[in-house]
Symmetry: C3
Subunit: 188 residues, 3 copies
């Protein structure tokens, strides 16, 4: 006799559980990403005479600057467009698994800091689709966190963070970043 | 006698259901958007002598480029600001239902590809508010997917994707895009 | 006898409740933000002779414009990079609690409207981390709403809106905005 209400309650809970978890995405605890990936990307700035191997170029600068060298002080106002190879290890000549495309702009008056607005565009056997990044990158900090606001393809509707580490930095004409991606919202 | 626990269980489930579903938004399965809309928008680039009817202009270019024609190769580094009419059909002269405003930058070294960062700004009887788009647009693909990262007004907190189709393309000084919006997060 | 199913049902509901609410974030009703904050920020544009106290500079302009004064009409095409102090009250000389860093671009052909893409970068005892803003800002409206798409640190994964109010505006070479932040997605 008393079993029937239990079965009904169980059934209702099950229904409810299906209802509340079937909305097509999974979120995870703050400390436990639903997906983790690591990459490197490599930026070689155009500085007037290296168009053949440059992967980025200054396209906007303040009135006191120009497009072949950084403005002083702190590159403030320089806007750079880039198409940088993404590799799995820190070797510039490894086969790229995608491209980091978009722009950054130096936007701090008293220190080197860039504002990032770009995508990872994947087209490899492992990953297809894009991830979009945004946020401030105080480049002199060894480690910085930027936001991942969205994605497409394998990364449909993803959100999360990326931990950026400077792996090499040569007078900000060449730099290599390690990017540790932690997605905290993944859609199945 | 056995009915009371059932009623209590029901009541608790109901409470729980209210609690877990009343957070003010609805998400849907990956394959089933919560809102779908389609529009066209029209971009006429300024190329030195058409200021009266141009809706966009190059405002940044690499050192080897200028602001009245695209840089070679592949327009790389050209940054364009636009204020383009949005229409319900593919006729440039239809009454606009809003404006597509923001920028795009050509950011691929070996192909035509733009990075989009713009909004749809609606102000019609059907729609009020904005939708924000971001992501890579490899323009020579017939169909591309960009992210919708947020919105305001009727599109408060919305997220989703937009499928872009080139409906017309004339030497990239005039293009018309069809935009199929699929929202996968809608707030009521 | 009838008590056991009730206890079991309760236990199941509790489990379910933990399962459905433990995914590490809290969303709230549309009308009830999970966090509210208010700030002011102050923008002083470089106009050719004030490099010492300017906090922003034109770095991109259409072919008919330049980088020391706004383009006509409606500043269309002017892209401005900024590093503006954030204060708790409307006094430019109050101790900043952070910096508003990023860019805006005037992108309307027939009215003053800016497209915003920037971050609040906090580094005070009260707040650490960043909030990322995006969206159209029709600056002549007394009140505008832009999107908050993401955040880091104290604002990890946050989403919401910001209500912008022009608190001072002097020929668009100096402006002061009041920013009322309403987060509708907060991660604990």
């Amino acid at each position: 006799m008393a079993v029937r209400p239990l079965i009904l309650a169980l059934f209702l809970c099950l229904l409810l559980s299906i209802f509340t978890t079937s909305h097509g995405y999974k979120t995870h605890r703050r400390g436990r990403p639903c997906k983790e990936l690591s990459f490197y990307f490599h930026d070689i700035l155009y500085k007037g005479h290296n168009k053949d191997n440059a992967t980025s170029a200054i396209v906007g600068a303040p009135d006191w600057g120009n497009r072949t060298e950084f403005a002083r002080p702190f590159d403030f106002g320089d806007l750079v467009v880039f198409d940088d190879p993404i590799t799995l290890d820190n070797n510039l000549h490894s086969t790229p698994v995608g491209r980091a495309q978009g722009m950054y702009v130096y936007d701090q008056l008293n220190a080197f800091s860039a504002w990032l607005s770009f995508s990872f565009v994947f087209n490899s056997t492992q990953h297809k689709g894009s991830l979009n990044f945004a946020g401030p990158d105080p480049i002199l900090n060894q480690t910085r966190i930027v936001s991942i606001t969205s994605g497409t393809g394998d990364f449909f509707m993803a959100r999360g963070i990326a931990i950026l580490t400077t792996d090499a930095y040569e007078g900000n004409y060449y730099f290599r970043l390690r990017v540790d991606i932690k997605l905290h919202e993944c859609w199945e």
